[in-house]
Symmetry: C2
Subunit: 416 residues, 2 copies
């Protein structure tokens, strides 16, 4: 069948009918609805002749064998968060299906083409995202931690996986899936406001941000709001307030797309009649450049020490999580620019704030790139998530143009 | 008996043994332990010959009849918060007992002298403080609200009072107690750091602060911490942070002892990966001058509108509570200065941040003054509350000197 991007829109709506309700998409991984969506997907792909397989980590693979075993991978995920949107994850897969149809129709491709539906990208049920792709990438280093995770009903993660035929102890055997991978492509909704603000339908993702995530705890002295003169106070909230404002100046100074967020402050005792004794502040800093990410953190720490001294309060930093930046493949970024310009007239390069399965594959050494399609109002993980249908069609066409260029490249010796 | 301030210290320790435990004082109003403390007090006062009476609001009165019915009142409260300190409230009463002993020993006084142990000053059990004094002052305007208050065990306030012989519907009949009151005197621990920072044992209270208490709600837009560029954000926390810092400048500009406190900020969604959508900020502003209190509030509101515009967020103000300043009697303030200087060499005038029973009596039109004795580290409502024994003795002596001057004044036609 020739490429028909309007079919992608129609199939997304069909999937929404099948696996969503009034509150949004309900395809959380390791549920019956998720299995239903994967069975539906298998039926959709079957006419292409691609071979179906579930790997040791629960990832669903469709393989269109080519003249060479070296493979171009197109990925996405059928799972959603509970009450999720109609596009996050499944647009990626369904646009890939459309490309697979076009490739199959044209006869045996020069290299193998594989579509992968990663298992449990969202981590909605157990709080650990990128489950399937991190197993395939070999970066799932926290199996002992996974073993003790429980869902809201007290079901342990290994038991939930076992109910879907997956043995956690063997999940890392999924690494064999990436042995033949020469390149990896992924389309995703942006989940941010950049493309909409630029009035562009599509963009190329340069890589995923490195992240520094900390809890900053300020310690002052509780004191009566009525009987304590201003000069006698040691107000923990003052430190948090200064830092919440300062991180914006730091992001501007470091620049190049730096983002810094104070997502919340918990004040104790937190009552109207007392100066704040303890303020626990959440801080998230992101940059695509490792050195600049380190600079964001260093400047915030230096500022916090200065504020602590000014306010005669204490400050402590506790790292909650961090990850380095992951940069996508330069050649593939170029192909992506071409493919987007071909269908939309203009492209734009931007980093990804959220992590994606593509980051895991890239970390495993497979040349990788992603496309973003505009998200209306930047909303995702809600039933309000939306993208114009004309943009969805453009995104499917651009992904196919990227696949075509990548297959030619790998066939001529490019890729890993 | 001549005045013996060391006896006040000894009796405070005796009361602590009788009604406290390892966690502090346990004389919450409307409990058996509180009744035990009041029975103990009655036995202590009995040798003076003062008449004992419980009024319609549960206040305990000891009346030493004088040549005139016009009465000088000395007040305090035997009730404590749970796990309270050994001084808050009962120091006032026991220093008054010592003065009563001295006056009784000297024969029939020229005017009547009354010691009052106000019922439920702390409001620890039902969350409504100054219960007995507001009834006597006639300012208990919220009887319908009191009627529905319940304690942590679900017991309604009227039932708890009835168990101690008090009929809430008749509580306001206690107003008759103040008909003959010519002046009211109260000693209290400072519950703040001012006298300690000045290295002074005693101070005269000019009045109680007026209070403006508000919830300030900032409304921005939740947005992904990774995918939302800094310039696109509408961060509710930024508004709260700016106001938390600005109120300090406002307090400094308005001056004359102004205090402004942001006791807490509740952030929603309050997660590390999202810009703050809603920040609910608590604000407490106090001043002894009504016009300056209004100025504190007006400047904070004006600043909040400016910050909301700068941050492209919304701001709403909700008044939680307010009360005007209550100024004590100028003549009695002068007597208090003299009495303090007599025993301690130096006096200091300061406002009271917390409210006290004295504020209710003053609002009822009775000339009133308070003495503060230094609190170590400004702590109260905790077993760590403490005052040097030598300062406790000085405070009892100063209260007696103030009582002597006030009795002479009232006898010569002063007071109400």
């Amino acid at each position: 069948m020739p490429l028909d991007p309007s079919r992608t829109v129609a199939e997304l709506k069909e999937l929404r009918e099948l696996t969503g309700d009034a509150n949004g998409a309900q395809r959380a991984a390791w549920t019956d609805t998720w299995e239903q969506a994967r069975a539906w997907l298998r039926d959709k792909v079957a006419p292409t002749g691609a071979e179906h397989e579930i790997d040791e980590a629960g990832n669903q693979w469709f393989t269109l064998r080519g003249d060479s075993d070296r493979a171009v991978l197109i990925g996405g995920h059928m799972d959603s968060v509970p009450n999720g949107g109609w596009l996050d994850g499944c647009l990626n897969v369904l646009a890939g299906v459309e490309s697979l149809r076009r490739i199959a129709e044209e006869g045996t491709p020069p290299v193998t083409v594989r579509l992968v539906d990663w298992a449990d990208e969202e981590g909605a049920r157990f709080g650990r995202s990128l489950v399937g792709s991190s197993a395939a990438a070999g970066s799932m280093a926290d199996q002992d931690e996974l073993r003790v995770l429980k869902d809201a009903d007290g079901v342990a993660l290994p038991d939930a996986l076992a109910a879907h035929g997956i043995d956690l102890d063997r999940a890392l055997d999924a690494r064999s899936q990436l042995e033949s991978a020469a390149a990896y492509l992924e389309l995703h909704i942006e989940q941010g406001p950049v493309l909409e603000s630029l009035d562009l339908p599509l963009g190329v993702v340069l890589g995923t941000f490195g992240v520094e995530r900390h809890r900053v705890t300020w310690r002052g002295q509780a004191a009566h709001a009525g009987s304590t003169p201003m000069a006698e106070r040691r107000d923990a909230l003052a430190g948090a307030a200064k830092l919440a404002l300062e991180i914006r100046d730091i992001a501007a100074r470091v620049g190049d797309g730096a983002v810094c967020t104070s997502g919340g402050v918990i004040c104790k005792p937190g009552i109207v009649t007392s100066v704040v004794e303890t303020a626990e502040q959440l801080l998230d800093q992101r940059h695509l450049d490792a050195a600049k990410l380190a600079e964001l953190l260093a400047q915030a720490k230096e500022a916090s020490e200065r504020f602590a001294a000014e306010e005669r309060i204490g400050v402590e930093w506790e790292r909650l999580w961090s990850i380095g930046p992951i940069l996508f493949d330069e050649t593939l970024v170029g192909f992506a620019d071409e493919a987007i310009t071909e269908v939309a007239g203009a492209s734009h390069r931007l980093p990804s704030g959220p992590l994606h399965d593509a980051a895991e594959v890239s970390r495993a050494g497979v040349p990788t790139v992603m496309l973003f399609v505009q998200s209306l109002r930047g909303l995702s993980h809600t039933k309000l998530e939306d993208t114009k249908e004309e943009h969805i069609e453009l995104s499917a066409a651009a992904l196919d143009g990227l696949a075509r260029r990548t297959i030619d490249w790998v066939a001529s010796g490019g890729g890993r």
